[in-house]
Amino acid sequence: MTETTATKTPAPAASSSPAADGTVPGAASAVHGLSAAGLLRSEWIKLRSVRSTAWSYALLVLVSLALAAVMSSTLDLQGADASMIPAADQATFIAQTATFGVFFGQLIVAVLGALTISGEYSTGMIRSTLTAVPRRLPALAAKAAVLFVTTFVVGLAANLGSYLVASLVLSRQGLGVSFADPAVFLPVLGGALYLALIAVFALGIGTIVRSGAGGIAVVLGIVLLLPMVFQVIAAPWAAAVLPYLVSNAGINMFGLMSFSPVPIEWWVNLLVVLGWLAVSLVGAAVVLKRRDA
């Protein structure tokens, strides 16, 4: 079974004499086998060849642009002269306008992230995936990497577009900040990074839960409901936990909103988000490796 020939499976109707040279066909030598690049390409093909991906990303961009347009055009300076507003405040407002879509975007990419894997479980595709990649974890890693990069790129495009929309609208009122201002481009980058991290977080949850509806429910519960629940609880410990919930830390990370009386450094927030992500991915890896598919 080690000797290989380049013969391909011919049509069964052909009546040529089989394996005349005594070698066993199969394992065509032109094929190099599993590789990281191959797995990434495979996951990229999978991601772009289902409709939910295009829909989700289009929605992300549209919602971001629409929110930026609405927010910037409804700004009322109440007769104040724009030139009197400090540059730092102008920058903050434009940054907030450019990243406001992330509030909604996080829900969209969370659903997409969960569906990326739960869609494979609900259709049975996971059996094909795991037969091609029997060690399993490389498939999950490739899925996470492709989802991360794609979501980051689309998220960045959405935020950049929102910045352009906001700048255009606000320039009519005399407001304007260069994109080179760190107070603008850092939140724009941070917002895109958060979207990418939340998508992968949801991928991990979807792997653990396996069902589409279940995965989406759990992820949205964590991203959306948990902050509300802790906000409602009047106890001091609830307020203390609030900044460390994944969505709060993520939103605080790029400066859109703070959930803590004392400022928290952006990298602390990033570590908090990464902590949630690690729990989700480690859990996903453990169950994926252990469970029968």
């Binding site: 079974m1 499976t9 066993v24 066909p25 094929v31 094909s128």
Partner: protein, 308 residues
């Protein structure tokens, strides 16, 4: 070559596969046969690592499936359950699988053509008929040009032409020197396609032998005798180890005595014979005889399964 050693799978307290040993040889079509719940699908899933054995092991070409550098080029597998995302086109499905192993797109188009799904290759799999889905599954199995093919109920849902095609394909692949393992609940299918059978019942191997040998194992070769003097002949043949059954008025089925002996005894007694035919058991009868005690989900009114 596939080798299983005391392969065991338990789901909770229920044993699906019970410490079985078998070897599937290259160059032959080997059939995995057994009633529902006998463990056929579970065995196939364990071979490609989808299910983890509770105990024992199964190796393909000397290694565990997951240890191969290019698993799809060692083993092509078609599972009984669907394994395709319904929202993706057939071609994209195959391209995604091929990409993992660096299999070129040209090979994808080759298997699409080979399996006759070219017309629907760019449409979403969700709208496929059972037969088209089955052809796509076979295309995926052939993608890596593997030396070992494992197909669970491959003719399921195919039209007669498709059944014929799969049968020829299996035989062809085996003749090329590949290892072909297929399961089917259709005995007639196995009789036409398989060279060797592994019969399962309640997770154990009941018989592991060439098809011809299994038909022989069914034992009772019977003789069909047509004579206008059937009552007379029946009385003549009456011996402790000979059983005579009558169907139609002038027809006897005789077991326990050779056709030659019947002919000579009839001639000596002056009985006219219109027909004297040896009837060997079919694979179906052999299967039923061998698995009778093993059928787990026997329908209450399965009298038609008994020999007539």
């Amino acid at each position: 070559m596939i080798q299983a050693q005391s392969l065991t799978k338990r789901h909770g307290g229920k044993t699906a596969v019970d410490a079985i040993d078998f070897t599937v040889q290259p160059g032959k079509v080997t059939g995995l046969l057994g009633p529902n719940g006998a463990g056929k699908s579970t065995i196939m899933r364990m071979i490609v690592g989808l299910d983890r054995p509770t105990a024992g092991s199964v190796k393909v070409n000397g290694k565990h499936y997951s240890e191969h550098r290019a698993p799809l080029c060692e083993v092509g597998v078609l599972l009984d359950a669907r394994a395709v995302h319904t929202g993706r086109s057939a071609r994209n499905h195959l391209l995604a699988l091929a990409a993992t192993h660096g299999i070129p797109a040209a090979r994808v188009d080759e298997v699409i053509e080979l399996t006759g799904i070219g017309a629907v290759a760019r449409t979403r799999v969700g709208g496929f008929s059972l037969g088209m889905g089955q052809r796509l599954g076979i295309a995926a199995a052939l993608l890596g040009d593997p030396a070992v093919l494992i197909l669970d109920e491959p003719v399921n849902g195919l039209d007669p032409e498709g059944v014929q095609w799969v049968r020829q394909l299996m035989r062809y692949l085996a003749a090329e020197g590949r290892t072909v393992l297929l399961s089917s609940h259709m005995m007639s299918e196995m009789a036409l396609t398989a060279d060797h059978l592994i019969m399962l019942g309640r997770g154990k191997v009941i018989v592991n032998a060439p098809v011809s040998e299994i038909i022989g194992m069914a034992g009772t070769h019977r003789v069909r005798v047509r004579t206008p003097q059937s009552a007379q002949l029946a009385a003549l043949l009456a011996q402790p180890d000979v059983t005579v059954t009558t169907g139609e008025p002038d027809l006897l089925e005789v077991a326990g005595i050779s056709a030659g002996d019947i002919g000579e005894q009839a001639a000596a007694a002056g009985i006219v014979l219109h027909e004297l035919t040896g009837v060997s058991a079919s694979l179906e009868e052999a299967y039923l005889a061998l698995t009778q005690d093993e059928v787990e989900y026997r329908a209450s009114g399965s009298a038609q399964l008994q020999e007539a």
